[in-house]
């Protein structure tokens, strides 16, 4: 018998970590369903199925134990994040393509669990938005109320993709409006106040989904699954730069509240940028990582070519992780007076 010390082990496991992440997403999903329709449930199911099947397939090809790795829950977390960042009425195959790419290429081709240098869900988003830009920016128009059956039919291609689907996210709408109105001198506060797509402080409906993510994220932090550094740095950086530009010219830049509660900001701050595998691990590194991601997300949103920048911001920061961690090694016990 060989057992190595310590013989006492805390009751912890990878699957427990992943389960808690999924649980923390539940409030956000609930609000999503409530305010924006149940289609997201279909997407979550499709993505989970695709993730598990592709994970099983590639595990078998790699000769790895199936039961052990399928039950760790990491594929499901990736799948859920993909479903939550894709348009809810996107065709099913788009979600499948994204998920399979995330699991097979972004995760397993780099060595599987714990080895991927990039966040798989964000790779899926990036790949799909580059490959299918039209489909990825078709968001249900505000006020479009469809039954679950109708939504399912749209997702599975049984109903034509009507014009009502060709809406945009609040961020996208704002960006387009600003671009169009660059000459005519558009006023952001007026825009936000008058258009139906905007809610109390950000996008209608979306603002409350984001708030629910915030809630779930705080719970994750309380449970010790994530640390405070990344979300705080992310939110602080996003707030800082958006406030600065908003104060400088409130007519052409949206308020920090709008940015914090729009698009993938909250999801990114608490669930995506906190991914330990592809993120920084040292406390100071996490601060740099979060701040960098928040800053880049804003820059891409406001000055870049895409409506939301969280995915690209996180991927860019993923590239920088090794060098950030190298320079952010904390001093060890007894060596604090020496740099």
């Amino acid at each position: 018998m060989f057992k190595s010390p310590p013989y006492l082990l805390q009751d912890a496991s990878v699957s427990r970590v992943m389960t808690q992440v999924c649980l923390a997403l539940v409030p956000g999903i609930a609000v999503y369903v409530w305010l924006l329709g149940p289609a997201i449930l279909i997407q979550l199911a499709v993505a989970s199925l695709a993730a598990l099947l592709s994970e099983a397939l590639i595990l078998r090809l790699r000769g790895k134990p199936l039961a052990l790795f399928l039950s760790d829950g990491s594929a499901v977390v990736t799948a859920w994040l993909i479903a939550l960042t894709f348009p809810p009425l996107a065709p099913w195959w788009l979600v499948v393509v994204g998920t399979v790419f995330a699991i097979v290429v972004a995760k397993h081709l780099y060595g599987g669990l714990g080895q991927n240098p990039f966040n798989p869900a964000m790779i899926a988003f990036a790949v799909c938005i580059v490959s299918f830009p039209a489909l990825m920016s078709q968001w249900p128009s505000q006020g479009l109320h469809l039954s679950l059956a109708e939504q399912a039919n749209i997702v599975f291609g049984l109903m034509p993709r009507v014009d009502a689907l060709a809406g945009a996210t609040p961020l996208d709408a704002l960006k387009t409006a600003l671009k169009l109105g660059a000459e005519s001198g558009i006023d952001v506060p007026a825009l936000l106040a008058n258009q139906d797509i905007y809610g109390n402080f950000a996008g209608r409906g979306w603002e409350w989904v984001a708030a629910a993510y915030l809630l779930g994220g705080l719970w994750l932090w309380l449970r010790g699954v994530i640390t405070w550094q990344v979300p705080v740095a992310f939110i602080a950086a996003l707030t800082a730069i958006s406030t600065a530009l908003w104060v400088y010219q409130p007519t052409s830049f949206a308020s920090p509240f709008f940015h914090l509660f729009s698009g993938g900001a909250m999801l990114g701050a608490f669930f995506i940028a906190t991914d330990p595998v592809s993120g920084c691990t040292t406390p100071r590194g996490k601060l740099v990582f979060g701040a960098g991601a928040g800053l880049l997300a804003y820059l891409i949103r406001v000055f870049g070519g895409y409506p939301d920048g969280v995915a690209f911001a996180v991927l860019i920061m993923n590239i920088c992780v090794p060098v950030i961690d190298l320079f952010c090694q904390p001093p060890i016990f007894g060596m604090k007076d020496k740099p």
Partner: protein, 564 residues
């Protein structure tokens, strides 16, 4: 009343201490045979001073300390030495080492014990006494105590920290010692205080041992000492020397420095107790308190003789039938002893009967997800997951860059790891590989140096030989040349009569020259250190000299005397 500091990291495993504290300390029964390993402390292996067949008394020296960092070993009871041979060790390897096997005679007769009033002794003598009594750190590191009782010359000794924290789960031997023998612990601390002269003495005890704290406080008060008994928060590894020093003084001792360089020194309470027994009662360390717990029916603390086979000792606590192993030490830093016959040694503070029911096997290892739990749990603020990657890849240079030798192997990282990676095991592997490489490197360097030296020596010898040969050849040649020249000269003179005499005279001349040389040599070899001789000796020398000169004269006076 007392400002405590915090150390980072640490974990809170279930303490499991209550089971073994319900009963007082008991004496373990005398085993049928004791195997006392000679190497029981850090440093040199003591040399055996008994042989098979010798009878020994309890407390009699059986292993003489070898060097300053080494401590003596004594017979734990009276009896007969059956062998001085290789016996299995309480070590994860299950390898053998030199041990003294004693068959007890059952009388447990002591040697003559000599109590000492240490106040009258010089500090060096006290330290030597402690070494001779085999007093070592009983917290588990077994560093010879006398080697820690010298203050640094340049740094004033500020704090003496006494470690009664006992943070590992299951272990309660220090707790019971403090409860029942607090007075002697305090008096032992007094010895350390007198030798080190610190400004403050701080006794740290985890706050889950209120009885021990109360007993110590009472003992300190009764002795009128100024020691502070400090309750420290229960958090593993608060009982690690460096962590306790940090908690009590705020000082952080790095791996590369000695704590005395920071003006602080740390001893275990049990060490203080044995030091007092050694000085004031003349009793060397022949037994220690051992917690018997885990999967047993009667968990309790026993005073067990060093050398008692672990299986035999554990049987006293009645292990449950599904016990399948013995853990020496606690469940965090201890190890499964590969052989039940391994003896109790000075480092054995606890024996835990192991069963899979009590310590379920770890679930299968998963890949590291870099969650950083280990880094947050590490009391030395290392990055265990980074160390793990490098140790796993056998990139030992990198493990050293990430300060692997600052790792105290406390097991916090493995305890919290959600992927169930045996992190500590990787670190132990990496450390012992690095040490092995260092040994190999040193051996290779030594071999190289000796090889180069031998080569130089061979070359020098060759050169010397060649020179000698060349000289001899030259001398030969010169002689021949000289003879030829002499012959030529003789011919040149063309005097027939001397020419006829020539061989004779030449020979005589050579002989005379040889004699002269011999005489010169004799004179040169004459004793020169004749200055401080007595008159008698001088007379003798003079007589010998006289004989020599006499003996030397005749050949000169009779040129034809010798052969021919």
């Amino acid at each position: 009343m007392f400002d405590l500091f915090k150390f980072k990291g640490g974990v809170k495993p279930p303490t499991n201490k209550a089971q073994s504290t319900t009963l007082p300390i008991a004496a373990a029964p005398l085993p049928a045979r004791l195997a006392v390993p000679l190497h029981q402390s850090i440093g040199g292996t003591p040399r055996p001073v008994v042989k098979a067949g010798d009878t020994v008394l309890k407390g009699q020296l059986i292993g003489q300390a070898d060097g300053w960092i080494s401590a003596a070993v004594h017979a734990p009871t009276s009896g007969t030495v059956r062998a001085v041979a290789m016996r299995v060790q309480p070590h994860p390897s299950g390898l053998d080492a030199l041990s003294v096997v004693i068959e007890p005679d059952g009388q447990d007769r002591w040697i003559e014990r000599q109590p000492v009033d240490y106040g009258k002794l010089a500090p060096e003598d006290v330290r030597e006494l402690l070494q001779a009594a085999g007093v070592v750190g009983l917290g588990g590191a077994v560093f010879p105590t006398h080697g820690k009782l010298t203050a640094a010359k340049s740094v004033p000794m500020e704090e003496l920290v006494i470690n009664g924290a006992e943070c590992e789960p299951f272990i309660t031997c220090d707790d019971l010692l403090m409860r029942e023998r607090a007075d002697e612990v305090v008096r032992g601390i007094g010895i350390f205080r007198d030798l080190l002269q610190p400004q403050r003495v701080l006794i740290g005890v985890e706050d889950n041992k209120p009885e021990a704290i109360a007993a110590l406080e009472a003992a300190v008060r009764a002795r009128g000492e100024s020691f502070s008994v400090v309750a420290v928060p229960t958090r593993y590894p608060a009982g690690g020397a460096k962590q306790l020093i940090r908690v009590l003084t705020g000082k952080e001792v790095p791996a590369a420095r000695r704590s005395t360089d920071l003006g602080v020194q740390c001893f275990n309470v049990a060490t203080a107790y044995t030091a007092w027994r050694a000085i004031a009662h003349g009793e060397p360390v022949v037994s220690r308190l051992v917690t018997l717990t885990g999967n047993v029916r009667q968990p309790r603390n026993y005073e067990a003789l060093i050398g008692t086979p672990m299986g035999e000792l554990l049987a006293v606590a009645q292990p449950n039938p599904d016990t399948d192993g013995i853990i020496m030490g606690g469940p965090m830093m201890g190890f499964l002893v590969p052989d039940r016959d391994a003896p109790v040694v000075k480092a054995t503070n606890c024996l835990i009967a192991h069963s899979d029911r009590l310590f379920p096997p770890a679930p299968p290892e998963m890949p590291c997800i870099r969650c950083g739990e280990c880094a947050r749990a590490c009391p030395h603020e290392l990055q265990p997951f980074e160390l793990y990657w490098f140790a796993r890849a056998r990139n030992f240079g990198k493990t050293q860059e990430y300060a692997i030798f600052d790792c105290i192997e406390c097991g916090c990282c493995s305890y919290v790891c959600p992927s169930r990676i045996p992190l500590v095991q990787y670190f132990r592997f990496a450390k012992s590989e690095i040490w092995a490489r260092e040994r190999e490197k040193n051996a290779a360097d030594g071999a190289k140096a000796r090889f180069e030296f031998k080569q130089q020596r061979d070359e020098r010898e060759k050169a010397e030989k060649a020179e000698k040969l060349a000289k001899a050849a030259a001398a030969q040649a010169a002689k021949k040349a000289a003879e030829a020249a002499a012959a030529a000269a003789g011919e040149a003179k063309t005097d027939p009569a001397p020419a006829a005499l020539d061989p004779e005279t030449a020979k005589r001349a050579t002989i005379e020259a040889a004699m002269a040389r011999a005489k010169a040599q004799r004179e040169a070899a004459a004793p020169r250190n004749t200055d401080n001789l007595s008159a008698e000796q001088q007379a003798e020398v003079a007589a010998i000299e006289a004989r020599r000169t006499q003996a030397a004269v005749p050949p000169q006076s009779h040129p034809n005397g010798p052969t021919e």
